[in-house]
């Protein structure tokens, strides 16, 4: 039998950064994928609250409708759209990796740049088309 290390004394991933890993473009994009993912989970709670208020009737929804036009919520919506587009674009990048494509360092770096640019372009596009339509 091998000697067992108590699970609490083993280093867990966030502590690997800085100490053991040097900064990399691809790992930064991977971390942002997680951060946007957790952020979108929190966003889904707000979406649920919005729908519950809508189902609750005008007395529930009117204060929410007022909030929707505040600069704070508009900014939050813009950030939410970007987070969703980033997670979507990087998710597609991950799906290509899952089928074994685009793993070469040069390709992975290039697809990272394309993905980040696409996330911003899509965010602007969604809001621009919505404004015009």
């Amino acid at each position: 039998m091998s000697t067992k290390t108590p699970p609490q004394s083993r280093p867990l991933s966030p502590f690997m950064l800085g100490q053991y890993y040097r900064f990399q473009w691809s790992s930064l994009l991977s971390i942002i994928h997680r951060v946007t993912g957790v952020g979108l989970t929190l966003g889904s709670v707000l979406v649920a609250l919005w729908l519950i208020a809508l189902a609750g009737g005008p007395s529930w929804y009117t204060p929410v409708a007022g909030l929707l036009h505040s600069w704070f919520v508009q900014l939050l919506l813009a950030a939410w759209t970007w987070a969703l587009m980033y997670h979507l674009c990087n998710g597609i990048r991950h799906l290509f990796w899952d089928i074994g494509r685009g793993f070469e360092l040069k390709t992975a770096r290039a697809s990272g740049y394309v993905m980040v640019a696409s996330s911003f372009i899509l965010t602007v596009l969604v809001w621009a088309v919505a404004c015009v339509a």
Partner: protein, 131 residues
Amino acid sequence: MAKTSEDLRSPLSRARGLGSAKDGVHHFWVQRVSALALIPLALWFAFSIAMLATGPADYFSVRHWVSAPSVAVVLVLFLGTALYHSVLGLQEVIVDYTGGSMRLTLLLLSKLLHAVVAAAAIFAVLKIALA
């Protein structure tokens, strides 16, 4: 091997229990399948929210939008798929960064919250659409 009073199972029975549960790739696979489904659903939802936020977002117009059968159905599909994808993703994050009883607590809490949010959001859409 001598049988002890604590274990009356046959050696074959014990060996069978030690094998893989055969669902090792399930989490990986459903996370990818839900991701694929979310590509059109999330694009549609982001665009819809932007349309609502830039247009008249009063009670009656938003309710009118949700109550259209095509919107209600796609909205329920989006909410279900997004929250399923979310619970799988959060599970991965929790497992990566925590251990011990903290891990179990957060996993249970995450699953509970996702179930509540999904049920409440889908119920809200159905209540509006079927009113």
